[in-house]
Amino acid sequence: MASISLKNVSVSFPIYGAGSASLKKTLAASVTGGRFGKETGVTVVQALSGLNLELKSGDRLGLVGHNGAGKSTLLRTLAGVYEPSAGEFTRQGSVASLIDPALGIEMDATGIENIMLRGLVMGMSMKEIERLTPEICEFSGLGEYVNMPVRTYSTGMMMRLAFSISTSVEADILLMDEWLSVGDAAFTEKAEKRMRDVVSKSGILVLASHSPELIAKECNRVIHMEHGRIVES
């Protein structure tokens, strides 16, 4: 049974290198008589503050909000990238994350090799990967291109590959950021269908998007975010 629970979760980023954190400045401040650490106060960006959220199987959550409202940070926190700086986060179930499909693609490796690398990183065994590879190639519709280095692909083709790999394993929780920019119309339709398959198997979908129509079509719950807070749900 998949579930996600956030209790009073905050995520704040220290921003180093925004003018104040180099060793040189710290040293300079200490030898020029400036109080040590006075000038090196780190800028902190509060990306999420005090979020409460409970999700259970069958929930399809839409995240809306302007740029920088914290949607992607929330997705990443759910994926387990950021450990909340405060609050409690519990998650049950395996995760497929499509936050930035291009991340983790090796440009010089071929499509097939990328399937293997990404599959491994997602926790599959070599056997599983071997079994799933034909299916993934088929779904991506890349044909002979799977044997070519990814650097020869167009953006759309790369997205297709990434999407096909990430959704090839059955996951309980699907995290997505703007997924309809995946490819041409035919592929988008295929992708949408696969999405629904995954979610209908008693999973959870969390989708961040700027398109109200998409959210209305795919989601049964919506939260509106602003400045790292949920302002409306």
Binding site: F89, Q92, L120
Partner: protein
Amino acid sequence: MSQVHSNLHRSPLADWWEGTRRTDIWWTLAWFDIVLRYRRSMLGPLWLTLSMGVMIGGMGPLYASLFGTHLDKFFPHLALGVIFWGTFSAVVTDACNAFVGSSNYLKQGYFPISLFVWRGLARNLIQFLHQIVLYIPVAIWAGVTLSWSVLLIIPAFAILIINAHALGLLLGLICTRYRDVTQIITSLMQMLMFLTPVFWLPENLPSRAKYVLWNPFAQMLDLLRTPLMGGVAHLHSWIGIAVWTVLCVSIASVLFVKYRRRVVYWL
């Protein structure tokens, strides 16, 4: 199939083991690092072997006459020195980039960070195996005779791996937080190369300068090099390295426990 993930429920040790256990992941990633780096070249990683061979071949006769030693004594010393130093320095510099270089994975989902330290280490091991073959013709030419003491290379190598891993965690974390440290380490390694008997013979050192041999790299080199040349490493090297290992592992553990989940914020 269902697994619980929580920021509260995983101990540091379990986190470390989770990354260590998946040998298939880090070994494959390391292998691909090498394959992709040299994909478009014919000799691949052997290029490094070749350039190292040229360097050893060129320096051997010159330095042997500079130091006034016989070439058949000096050549194996130099070859092993250069090969092992190459590995040490690659391990240390890669350690600084362990997490920065893997940010595309770390930003994608939850990963135990020890995985990426092993990845860098495995990559350097693969390189090392390409280079150590250089020693075979040198040893045959110089007529090196091995005794049973050569078996001491096994514990020495194990110590090398432990230290390299601990140093990887330690430097990886520090260098991700303070980016300047990478530069400091790089220049420090350059300086240390001259303070370590890579090229020169420790016997030539005047006794008041013997303290130079207490640097951990010199001791590690002694442990690895001497058995392969048919000798027995100094006792002080074993003691020094043991102390150093304990120190290194403890500092690495403290930093790992404290900052292992924080490192993603610094990327």
